[in-house]
């Protein structure tokens, strides 16, 4: 009887070793495992990974021992094997032992956990700061020390999501304008939100922080290796929660510097260009073509490509009193958004030309044949109050 019990125990251990080995091989192969947490690109993410593996091994150890004893008992102490029930049913000593022993294991787990937690709480001055703002359903990055800011939107085509085109390698994890940061420097992220709660998550940095509307949170990272790091919004934030990825490119400091200066000059040129445009008028045809492009990229997610919205959730533009009559109100709401709704301030996101085009489009598409033309200078007038 004992012999068989030992056999069962041996078989159990063999099985466990096999599974553990297979898991280790699977986890060890390739940089980003499909099975396990990644080691990531920073010292902190490495520490987190080690902590995870330690906790995981302890848990597996506990499970092997407990289930092992249970399976042996299930094999040996069966009525069909003629087992007679024993009479014991309590033991203060045993109860104390298995209260104290887990407690000791917990202390063993708590020490490295607390160490890593404190390492994450580094309040030294950063080399640079980025303000990360979540809104339904995109991220906005503003470099606090430079004249660079931009929105970062999902770049995967609608057709891929709707299964009409083949899906690309980075399906749903690609954006039009990734965040760029330098390697080897302490980058601080200030995280906040314009509407609901979002959560900014880059697994390779082990950074996940909630973006709370009206409040500010901070996180930091120091990336060692140049590369492209992808993450996603982690907190349910409404309809397109699954479609607001985070992409961060880490560049060598010199390359980063070149990129940032280029961005600044592009912004400067765009501003000058905008001033020139104020004096020019676009034709209806130009406005409608450009407007349709902007509408489908920016507005159609909520108001739908046919302008009919989602009843009860997102209002229709087709036939709406504002799109048909109130031009000032229309420009104002597109520029500044509407508080307490998913309607955001697109004044920060689109150029005057794009704004003019998309408003013209909304006032003339889907049978909204107002014939109104909105020019960049009209938008500017509302924006600046002049």
């Amino acid at each position: 009887m004992k012999q068989l019990g030992i056999c069962v125990l041996k078989a159990w251990i063999a099985l466990v070793l096999l599974v553990a080995g297979a898991t280790a091989v699977a986890a060890g192969s390739g940089e980003v495992s499909a099975l396990n947490l990644r080691r990531g690109a920073t010292e902190i993410s490495g520490q987190v990974y080690d902590l995870h593996m330690l906790m995981f091994s302890i848990c597996v150890g506990i499970a092997v021992v407990v289930f092992g004893i249970m399976f042996v008992s299930m094999y040996l102490h069966r009525k069909s094997r003629g087992a007679k029930p024993a009479n014991f049913h309590e033991s203060v000593k045993v109860e104390i032992a298995w209260t104290v022993l887990p407690f000791l294991i917990l202390i063993f787990m708590a020490v490295p956990a607390a160490k890593t937690l404190l390492a994450m709480e580094d309040t030294t001055e950063p080399d640079m700061t980025v303000l990360v703002t979540g809104s339904q359903w995109k991220w906005h990055y503003k470099y606090m020390d430079r004249d660079v800011e931009f929105y970062s939107l999902l770049a995967t085509q609608r057709e891929q999501i709707d299964n009409r085109y083949a899906k690309g390698e980075n399906y749903l994890l690609e954006v039009d304008r990734p965040l760029v940061i330098p390697t080897g420097q302490k980058v601080r992220f200030l995280i906040t939100s314009d509407d609901v709660i979002h959560s900014w998550w880059v697994p390779d940095f082990a950074v996940k922080k909630d973006a709370n509307p009206g409040f500010i949170n901070e996180a930091w990272t120091r990336v060692d290796e140049p590369g492209i790091y992808r993450g996603q919004c982690a907190e349910l934030c409404g309809k397109d929660h699954g479609f607001m990825p985070v992409v961060v490119i880490a560049k060598e400091p010199a390359a980063y510097e070149a990129w940032a200066s280029e961005q600044e000059s592009i912004r400067q040129q765009a501003r000058e260009e905008e001033q020139r445009l104020l004096a020019m008028n676009m034709s209806m045809e130009e406005l409608m073509t450009e407007g349709e492009r902007v509408y489908n990229a920016t507005c159609a997610a909520c108001h739908m490509p046919n302008g009919e919205g989602l009843p009860g959730v997102f209002p229709a533009l087709k036939g709406s009193p504002m799109a048909l009559n109130d031009m000032q109100g229309h420009i104002d709401i597109v520029l500044n958004g509407k508080t307490g709704t998913a309607m955001q301030a697109f004044g920060k996101m689109l150029s005057l030309k794009e704004l003019a085009a998309v408003i013209t489009y909304e006032r003339n598409a889907w049978g909204n044949n107002t014939g109104d033309m909105v020019q960049a200078k009209d938008v500017n007038a509302v924006a600046s109050g002049e």
Binding site: L37, M55, I69, S73, H77, R78, A86, L172, K208
Partner: protein
């Protein structure tokens, strides 16, 4: 229950004569069920209601898994997907698991403590009959313009306030009704246990199922009102201009999470403590050996309940807390694993050197111990704040709470039903079908939930209708496991229908060879009225 406990109850013949007298007064047809104040009828109503809700919530899970079968949007729109995840969660928590436990309490608590009925039978009727209205309202909200609640069962503000649809009012109303129902049920359980125990049924002789339910009932009356407060604040923020959770008006959206999880964490234990009670009844029966460490089980349950009030913020590590608070909630959470571990060790010690047989209830109970422990261990990993930053809001969390709630709470309910239904109907259920149900469920549930650990660790966030390509393979398996698990429950439905039609062999009063306790002393099937003369427990 001690083996030495002698139970003196009225002779069976006498009891039968007595009961026959009463059978004449049972109204027939629908009105019997509408007007009933009998604890057994109400228990049956609760259990069938829970089962129907389990199938409805399960159907929603099938929609979710069908959409997630492959990358891309195929079946539903993201907005509807969010409604499915939200209502699936609400129905499973408030419509399936909690009513099922209340149903078991109704059936069993009076029988286990030698009481003729629940202490407040009319309130008992009410607490059941408002439930169908609550869930009709919730389900109806899916059909109003703009759709039903789409903000997750946790309804975080401001997504559930400023940014939600008008159906939020219906959601709040239905949660209020559910809360009132649970509170009434809990009060009834407490009063019954305090005032209606048979002579000699002292506290430390009470079966563990009664103990765990008593503690659960106290948790319910402590936290369901807090939930009611939270939904009320959501309602007034959305419709009446207050700003509890709106920064512009001096409120704070993070405060919502603190209030919600102050309710939410004890709620988790409300859904698992009765399960501990059930397992503690079943394991000794089929090990033919007394439960090891009865007293320590009672103390462990109590300490889990108390600790559950000081760990809520471990759901919120990423909201940005001071490091001291993160430490506190991490250590407090880890501490809960000590009494939980004691329970698991006690069950294993009960089996050790017993004389085990593996009838269907025992199979579910054993599966519970292994799979619940897996969920418990992943819970311990989640408690570790620095790694929780990686796990939080991923499928790792989804895997964790489904192991605890499906292979934990739901498996324990199934074990309980298989264990006690012969007593309720007087007939053995279809054992072959039940074994099919067990094995199909056991295999499919692991195909369903185990790979969720992998995709979660690899970085897949929860509550998304579409995902990146590296998660595709596992999601296919998860969906297949989900469909198989869903279909397996139809076997359960078949077993239950057959059992309720009283097909099967008649059973003895004790039903199971090693079963002990007052409920096994009365005839099978349990007569409509039991213990009208209280038994004396020595």
């Amino acid at each position: 229950m001690s083996k030495a406990t002698e139970i003196i109850s009225p002779a069976h013949g006498e009891a039968h004569a007595h009961d026959d007298h009463h059978e004449h007064h049972i109204p027939k047809g629908l009105m019997r069920w509408v007007l009933t104040t009998n604890h057994k009828d109400i228990g049956t109503l609760y259990l069938w209601f829970a089962f129907i809700m389990f199938l409805v919530g399960g159907a929603m899970a099938m929609v979710i898994r069908a959409e997630l079968f492959q990358p891309g949007l195929q079946i539903v729109e993201p907005n509807f997907f969010n409604q499915m995840t939200t209502v699936h969660g609400l129905i499973m928590v408030f419509g399936a698991v909690m009513p099922a436990f209340t149903g078991l309490a109704n059936w069993l608590v009076p029988m286990m403590i030698g009481a003729p009925d629940m202490a407040l039978p009319r309130m008992n009727n009410w607490s059941f009959w408002i439930l169908p209205f609550a869930f009709t309202i919730l389900l109806a909200s899916l059909f109003v313009e703009g759709g039903g609640p789409a903000f997750g069962w946790t309804f975080y503000a401001p997504l559930s306030t400023t940014y939600s649809g008008d159906s939020t009012a219906l959601f709040v109303f239905s949660v209020h009704i559910m809360g009132i129902s649970s509170i009434m049920g809990a009060i009834n359980v407490i009063v019954t246990i305090f005032n209606m125990r048979a002579p000699g049924m002292t506290w430390m002789k009470m079966p563990l199922f009664v103990w765990t339910w008593l503690i659960t009932a106290f948790l319910l009356i402590a936290v369901m009102p807090v939930l009611a407060g939270a939904v009320t604040m959501v309602l007034t923020d959305k419709f009446f201009g207050t700003s509890f959770f709106d920064a512009a008006g001096g409120g704070d959206p993070v405060m919502f999470q603190h209030i919600f999880w102050f309710f939410g964490h004890p709620e988790v234990y409300i859904m698992i403590l009765p399960a501990f009670g059930i397992i503690s009844q079943i394991i000794p029966t089929f090990s033919r050996k007394r439960l090891f460490g009865y007293a320590s089980m009672v103390y462990a349950t109590t300490s889990i309940a108390l600790l559950s009030f000081i760990v809520w913020a471990h759901h919120m590590f990423t909201t940005g807390m001071p490091v001291a608070a993160e430490m506190f909630f991490m250590f407090a959470t880890m501490l809960i694993s000590v009494p939980t571990g004691v329970k698991v060790f006690n069950w294993v010690a009960t089996m050790w050197r017993g004389s085990m047989t593996f009838e269907v209830p025992m199979l579910f109970a054993l599966a519970f111990i292994v799979l619940f422990t897996i969920g418990g261990l992943s819970g311990l990993m989640l408690a570790i704040t620095p790694v929780d930053f990686q796990y939080h809001d991923t499928y790792f969390v989804v895997a964790h709470f489904h192991y605890v709630l499906v292979t934990g709470a739901v498996f324990s309910i199934m074990a309980a039903v298989y264990y006690w239904i012969p007593k309720w109907t007087g007939r053995m259920f279809d054992i072959t079908l039940a074994k099919w149900h067990f094995w199909c469920s056991l295999i499919s549930v692991n195909v369903l939930f185990f790979p969720m650990h992998f995709v979660g660790l690899a970085g897949m966030p929860r509550r998304i209708p579409d995902y990146a390509l590296q998660f595709a393979d596992f999601n296919k398996w998860i969906s297949l496991g989900g469909f198989a698990f869903g279909l397996s429950q139809l076997i359960f439905l078949a077993v239950m229908i057959k059992a309720c039609r009283k097909q099967g062999e008649p059973v003895s009063d004790q039903v199971w060879e090693g079963a002990e306790g007052l409920e096994w002393e009365i005839p099978s099937p349990a007569p409509y009225h039991t213990f009208e003369t209280p038994p004396v427990v020595k």
